[in-house]
Amino acid sequence: MITAIAPTRDNYLTHEYGIKSWLLTQDHKRIALLYLGAISFFFFLGGVFATIIRLELLTPPGDLVSAQTYNKLFSLHGIFMIFLFMIPSIPATLGNFLVPLMIGCKDLAFPKLNLLSWYIFMAGGALVMYAMLVGGVDTGWTFYTPFSTSYANTYVILTATGIFITGFSSILTGLNFIVTIHRMRAPGLTWFRLPLFIWSMYATSVIQVLGTPVIAVTLLLVAIERGFHIGIFDPNLGGDPVLFQHLFWFYSHPAVYIMVLPGMGIISEVISVYSRKKIFGYKFVAFSSVAIAILSFLVWGHHLFVSSQSVYASLVFSFLSFLVAVPSAIKVFNWTATLYKGSISYETPMLYAFGFIGLFTVGGLTGTFLATLGFDVHVTDTYFVVAHFHYIMVGGTMMAYLGGLHYWWPKITGRMYPEGWAKLSALVVFLGFNLTFFPQFIMGYLGMPRRYHAYPPEFQIYHVLSTAGASVLAVGYIIPAIYFVWSMRYGKLAPDNPWGATGLEWQTTSPPPPENFEITPVVTYDAYDYSILEEMKVG
């Protein structure tokens, strides 16, 4: 399957040199790498905040940092991880790189807009960093009013402005993807021949376009309220803090699907390749992505169950929240059915995919627990919730992201990563992750509140386990950071299609030339049709 090493031809990395060729590039592949560097840096910072949090939580008294500093730490951890890492991560790196390649065109619909998106993202990120350096925020990433608007004495407006700016980056990227996928597919590439990664990027982009403007205006209103005290969220002036929560979660719930849908797209690709089998129920998986995108906008009230939202509305939102679990479950069933009687191999991306399926299922099921009104009243604002969303975001998306990075690394860099170290890291990540977050389910159920830096001694054992797990998890992340960089210089040269995958991105060189394809491909076969590869070899 692995053919002879390809000689270095002109590819998008070698086409031009110099810093200007990177900072003024319109090539979606280079922009993807610009994003990769930026989000990796923000991930590292988010991890630093998490480290200090977990160190503080080793002992019951709040003795490492002051209460307000702790509030700043979890706020910044959330802000950096969500807005500056998770939301851009897969779309802006793998999405940017792969969407044109997978649909057989030369670039996105609006390459200059793509570069602008990156600069907007950097500007917003820089502002958030500046706000952090001069003092940060202590409102939580959720900015709940009236604390954020009337009482906080930290840099709320500055941070909110930074996030506001990065929101535009998200909108423009989503817009670019939607137009590209609709209008620029290669001849013969009908909607139902598209790779499932494209379907999930499409659904993600729809959420980005429809949801992000609402968080933008919400943050704007927070800034106006804080600056001019007009009263929209201040009970003293007749305003309603719950209105803020409605506005905030209208975006922030779909946002979590912005974070997980791309990961699901990656899993579909990876499961198929390493089972040598087409995805079971392709149309169901494709439509489930769209269904998730739409349903995700109907459930936000489940964040307001204990916020004086009416019981009637809470019942409606609870029911809808159960409904949104269905398409996700359909995906899990279809991935499992794909594995059945497949010819399975255990390369690193597949290990991450297995991890995803298991951990996402746990996270998703605990989501249905939280959608149950009675149970939610008991565990809301406890570590149960914290564990739930980390199972999905870290156990889910992060693992999918790492799996995807490994899977497409040969295509992106023309180099193979070291398989032995990669498998080891995957295992370390899986073990570290579970040790970090499983105890959090237990202590949350037992009553440990979230966002507290001091706690009763009976919870200490769980916190110690969790912090131990976090250190293992950190090692699991550091090792790939090292070998990925190492591989760019010393990694084995990669062939065009090291995994024997279908998909147009594998029909061009590794790395691809600047315009992606020597000649525009014409597609006459379905996605995941492995028999075609045999024909190509023979023909």
Binding site: A109, L175, L210, F228, G231, I232, N236, G238, G239, H246
Partner: protein
């Protein structure tokens, strides 16, 4: 068609695809703007339901005449914008520049009227965050009304300002002969943006200026 391969970007197969993509992209952007303004419309909806009397009193302090005239001015500007698109499609360069100029003039007129309304409210002590003093009943909720009024009209005015800048750039490019009947997409896209700005005001006017006017 030959010289318009200059306007054709390399990622597109032909000019038609490029134009379709631009239009589609612009509509997606306008959808985001609907939701952006929409958040503030939500706040308005909630508080008007809760404080109908206070909102009525606030509305009566706005100048109905200035509001109605602003509405007419923007509708006129939309008409001129549409005419400029028509001129571009027919290759009439002078008419194109003239209509764009008239659109810009009316846009500036709109801002002038708006600023005078704001100034008037400021001198009456009705600008929250600055000098808000209201001695009749329910001052807190009237303050809420004006807070929302200034936020929404302010957001709208910022969009008008951006529109003026964009249209000025378009007028200069048109004057320099950048557009022909085969390629006038930027004019159309600017037109879509400008009409959207008009649309927002079409809702702002009745919602802010026409509450309980019969009491006045």
């Amino acid at each position: 068609m030959a010289n318009h391969s200059l306007a054709l970007r390399h990622q597109f197969d032909d000019v038609a695809q490029q134009k379709e993509a631009s239009t589609f992209g612009m509509w997606l952007f306008l959808a985001t703007e609907v939701l952006f303004f929409g958040g503030m419309f939500l706040c308005y909806t909630i508080y008007r339901r809760w404080y109908p009397v206070a909102f009525g009193m606030g509305s009566n302090h706005l100048s109905l005449m200035l509001g109605a005239v602003s509405t007419a001015v923007l509708i006129c500007s939309s008409y001129f914008m549409a005419c400029s698109v028509n001129s571009a499609a027919n290759g009439k360069k002078k008419a194109l520049v003239a209509y764009l100029a008239m659109t810009i003039v009316l846009a500036i007129a709109f801002l002038v009227i708006e600023m005078s309304e704001w100034h008037m409210l400021y001198t009456e002590g009705l600008m929250p965050g600055f000098n808000f003093t209201y001695h009749e009943m329910d001052p807190r909720h009237v303050q809420l009304f004006f807070g929302l009024y200034f936020s929404m009209t302010g957001l709208h005015a910022s969009h008008v300002t951006i529109g003026i800048i964009v249209l000025t750039v378009m007028a200069v490019r048109a004057y320099r002969g950048a557009f022909t009947p085969d390629y006038y997409t930027p004019i159309e896209m600017s037109g879509l943006y400008w009409h959207f700005v008009d649309l927002v005001w079409i809702f702002l006017f009745p919602l802010y200026y026409l509450i309980a006017r019969h009491l006045q």
